[in-house]
């Protein structure tokens, strides 16, 4: 599903070179639920940006769904993001001036679906996250947990093969975090591949695999997630 070989990412300014990732390699199989942990500045977000085609890397090879995406144009990368990848952000990233319906509609419009198809998908995913009755509401009228559910609905609306979650519960209290994680787990159970960046070892323990990143490299190739969860617990 996802294969990164010797990926390096260097941020350059006039004075400084920062190596965010160094010879980073990772393979994720279809249906995996991988948690990515590591200290601040270790390269977690850079990895997520590269995995989600939000940023170009400096060196290495990246195949997504069997296709080399290293040399895609900006427009091609946008298309791949739109069709294959769903994003869940720490701050939800909902558009405050749009209703829940219009928020979920954003990626579907870029996909070019008909109005009827978009309506069907929007209603389906909002029902799925338990917000079908609040489609006309604005994000500001919802709690943090509900907003993240809308963001998940938006990510799922295009039926992506691959879901990237960046600290999806980072802005939520523990109750809401648990309910969002249960939703993410359900999505994985239905076959969607998930990579989740998190600080929280307990949440990392809910994934089937854990990757620990330190100084831009995979420091522990694979943690036993049950052990991680036990340590956290």
């Amino acid at each position: 599903m996802l294969s990164m070989q010797d990926i390096s990412m260097v941020y350059r300014t006039d004075l400084v070179e920062t190596h965010a990732l160094r010879d980073f390699s990772l393979d994720v199989a279809e249906g995996d639920f991988v948690s990515v942990t590591g200290p601040s500045g270790s390269g977690k977000t850079t990895f997520l940006n590269i995995a989600g085609l939000l940023e170009q890397f400096t060196k290495g090879r990246y195949e997504l769904d069997g296709r080399d995406v290293s040399s895609l144009s900006d427009a091609q990368r946008s298309k791949v993001r739109n069709e294959k990848i769903g994003f869940i952000f720490q701050g939800f990233n909902l558009i405050p001036d749009l209703s829940l319906y219009d928020n979920v509609d954003v990626p579907l419009r870029y996909r070019g679906f008909s109005a009827a198809e978009r309506k069907r998908r929007i209603e389906h995913v909002l029902d799925l996250v338990g917000l079908g009755s609040r489609m006309k509401h604005l994000p500001s009228q919802l709690s943090g947990g509900q907003q993240q559910r809308v963001a998940i609905a938006r990510a799922l609306s295009g039926e992506p093969r691959f879901l990237l979650a960046d600290e999806p519960t980072g802005n939520l209290d523990s109750q809401m975090a648990l309910s969002v994680m249960e939703l993410i787990k359900q999505i994985n159970d239905q076959g969607t591949t998930i990579i989740m960046v998190t600080h929280d070892p307990a949440l990392a323990g809910m994934a089937s695999r854990n990757i620990h990143i330190r100084d831009g490299q995979v420091s522990d190739v694979e943690h036993d997630t049950q052990l991680v969860a036990a340590i956290a617990g």
Partner: protein, 403 residues
């Protein structure tokens, strides 16, 4: 197209959009009416005076010596001027078109003090008048030497014939202008005067007068102390003749002064100088207003892009291409501009109706409002292009940044 979501999002955050739409509306109302005024002035300035402007100049002569004989001087001057090589013809007259000073009377088709006459500008000429001014006689005949008399300042009697313009014939006989030729009209309430000729066109001295095309030539020399000679030169020889004429007139009689020599082209320029200035000023106002509106659009769009950087990054992450982001901001501006130009169209028509009533201006040309709409929509799209391109260059990775 994302018209629905863009419109709904704008309606939830509409203060800036309303202000820009209002600015566009006001700009459009002023622009359309200013262009209409400019068109009216330009049309007025483009009207032909009816005379051979390129080759005519004139000069004034004022006798001051005790032994100055005005009638003799006029006869000698005209003989001398007409015999000069390069001169087509010359006359003595009281005024010229567009000079802003002249003589007007009322003509009526029936005698009687109670009858309202039709205003007409009077030029006193002799049998050389038509040739000197370069006028075209449509019907009837020119004056003969025997028709021409002499008029003192105190005289109140008028000659018994006159040549009028076609416009004056239409004003006197709206149902049958052709019947003007040979008809008797009345001047000074009851003095009869026969129309012996109809000329194609000649303008009065006053360009702003509604009856500027209503003119009558009467066959008289004037003895008013100050006089004016009009000289028509052969094509291309006017400028060479002017200093010669001035010198010869000054030298030929030391009992008078000659002054105010001017070409007809200069007279036209002076006559319409204020109109020309107004056109320049209105052009400047339109350009300034358009620039201010464009800057307003740039300001609002730039602010909007800065405020929504994260949102743009999120859209990019969700699959928006650069061109989709560019299109989003261009569409948003187009919607604001459409509201602005629609309101501006209504405002422009309303303002024009008021100005037609208050200042007797002409009505707007039907095409002005749509043309201004297209122009302002275009200005809006050009103005928003810079901020929209900046928005399109926001990288998708902004979506995952925490600030």
């Amino acid at each position: 197209m994302e018209l629905g979501p863009i419109w709904r999002a704008m309606m939830r955050n509409k203060t800036g959009a309303i202000l820009i739409a209002l600015q566009i509306a006001v700009t459009m109302a002023i622009m359309v009416n200013a262009i209409s005024i400019m068109q009216e002035r330009s049309r007025m300035m483009a009207r032909p005076s009816g005379v051979d402007e390129a080759n005519i100049f004139y000069i004034s002569s004022v006798g001051f010596a005790e032994d100055f004989n005005e009638r003799v001087a006029i006869e000698e001057d005209l003989n001398m001027l007409r015999s000069l090589p390069g001169v087509v013809d010359a006359i003595q007259t009281n005024s010229v078109p567009l000079s802003d000073g002249g003589w007007s009377m009322g003509l009526q088709t029936e005698p009687g003090a109670e009858i309202q006459g039709t205003g007409v500008a009077i030029y006193f000429v002799d049998e050389h008048g038509m040739e000197t001014f370069g006028l075209e006689l449509l019907a009837g005949e020119d004056f003969s030497p025997g028709d021409v008399g002499w008029r003192e300042r105190s005289d109140t009697e008028w000659p018994d014939k006159g040549i009028i313009t076609r416009a004056m014939a239409e004003a006197l006989y709206p149902d049958d202008p052709d019947s003007a030729l040979g008809s008797t009209v009345y001047i000074n309430d009851d003095e009869p005067l026969t129309i012996t000729g109809i000329m194609k066109q000649m303008q009065a001295p006053w360009n702003g007068w509604s009856g500027v095309e209503r003119v009558m030539l009467v066959p008289q020399h004037t003895l008013f102390g100050a006089t004016r000679y009009v000289v028509r030169a052969e094509p291309g020889r006017r400028d060479e003749l002017m200093p010669q004429v001035e010198q010869i007139l000054a030298d030929s009689n030391k009992g008078r002064i000659v002054r105010n020599m001017r070409t007809m082209e200069e007279t036209r320029e002076r006559s319409y100088r204020s109109d020309g200035s107004m056109i320049k000023m209105l052009t400047f106002v339109i350009a300034l207003l358009t620039l201010v509106t464009a800057l307003g659009i740039v300001g609002l769009a730039s602010f909007s892009v800065s405020r929504r950087t994260k949102q743009i990054g999120t859209r990019r992450a969700l699959g928006a291409s650069r061109s989709a982001i560019l299109r989003y901001f261009m569409t948003e501006n187009l919607l604001i501009s459409i509201v602005g130009v629609l309101a501006g169209g209504a405002l422009a028509v309303g303002l024009n109706m008021w100005m037609v009533d208050a200042f007797d201006l002409t009505r707007l040309g039907w095409y002005l409002v749509p043309v201004a709409m297209v122009l302002l929509l275009l200005v809006g799209q050009i103005a928003v292009l810079g901020p929209a391109r900046r928005a399109a260059s926001v990288p998708p990775a902004v979506a995952t940044r925490t600030v």
